[in-house]
Symmetry: C2
Subunit: 189 residues, 2 copies
Amino acid sequence: MASFSDLLKTRRSIRDYEDKQIGIELVKEIIAESCLAPNSSNGQPWRFIIVNNKPMMATLSEDSKKNLLSDLEKNPNSPIKNYEGALRNPGFNVFYNAPCLVFIGGSKKIRSLSVDCALAASYFMLLAAEKGLGTCWVGLGSNIKDPELLSSLGMTEEYQIVAPIIIGYPKNIPEIPERAAPQILEVIS
Amino acid sequence: MASFSDLLKTRRSIRDYEDKQIGIELVKEIIAESCLAPNSSNGQPWRFIIVNNKPMMATLSEDSKKNLLSDLEKNPNSPIKNYEGALRNPGFNVFYNAPCLVFIGGSKKIRSLSVDCALAASYFMLLAAEKGLGTCWVGLGSNIKDPELLSSLGMTEEYQIVAPIIIGYPKNIPEIPERAAPQILEVIS
């Protein structure tokens, strides 16, 4: 078992994967341990969807790209502008060549949904790294709107995707990107 | 160094602390490592405020309680209703008896601010546990509105507090609260 300090320094966002399937039971094990994350009032609002199927991931990618471009037309100054080139490239899959995708989300009615799901996502990504797997939180993959697709994911209108996370065996592990020095606004002592 | 699996199982939300100060340098070290968290487009929007001063923490608690009760009057069905008794108790400090408080937040203009700060907060809480410290994300402590208080925290109108986290040496470590079985809505394989 790696020490936590080592794990923090070796976990990277992975966008290049081996062509190797990942076992569903391993993904479920990581999900179960992710539920140990702290969360608001112990509400545990997180729900999970496992997509261990590349053709389905490609379909989800196409729907998300289409909806992001449609949003960009309505709001041309959106930060999505930075990704317009990739989104217009028919060969670009927002989930890269990962073999598996896990959506973490839950009911829109829960005020703390985003932060609770982000806390579980953080655990998920670290647990995966500990087991030699790579992950990447792919924000561009959350914009699924097609009713049939949502239904096939088990999502009702009440649900919202917070964290689309790809997972698989890493092929290339990039260097750690530069971190700014921590910005501490004030110290009151 | 603890293994990550052990760390996950021993980290608890701590609300009872030893009457012992925590060194600012130790808090800064935890903050620096928290900045290794994944974040949207490597924007690193997180900003930190350290309040290592109990009288100031009591003042912040009073302002947050007052503003939460005022919000509750406007919206009587708010989930804050569950905390009304505590908020009306003059002896209740939302930061408990912790010696130190760290706010994690940033600019409201950043769309991913909540999830980015939650990811850093997750690292912060795990790093603290690894060093034998206790933490608790205290949602009730984020509602600071007094302009003078905000100014003394180094916060301009652009800033928003996402995660108020208390930190100190734990006195009592509670049992792990029950976790529901993971709710997996769908498995597509």
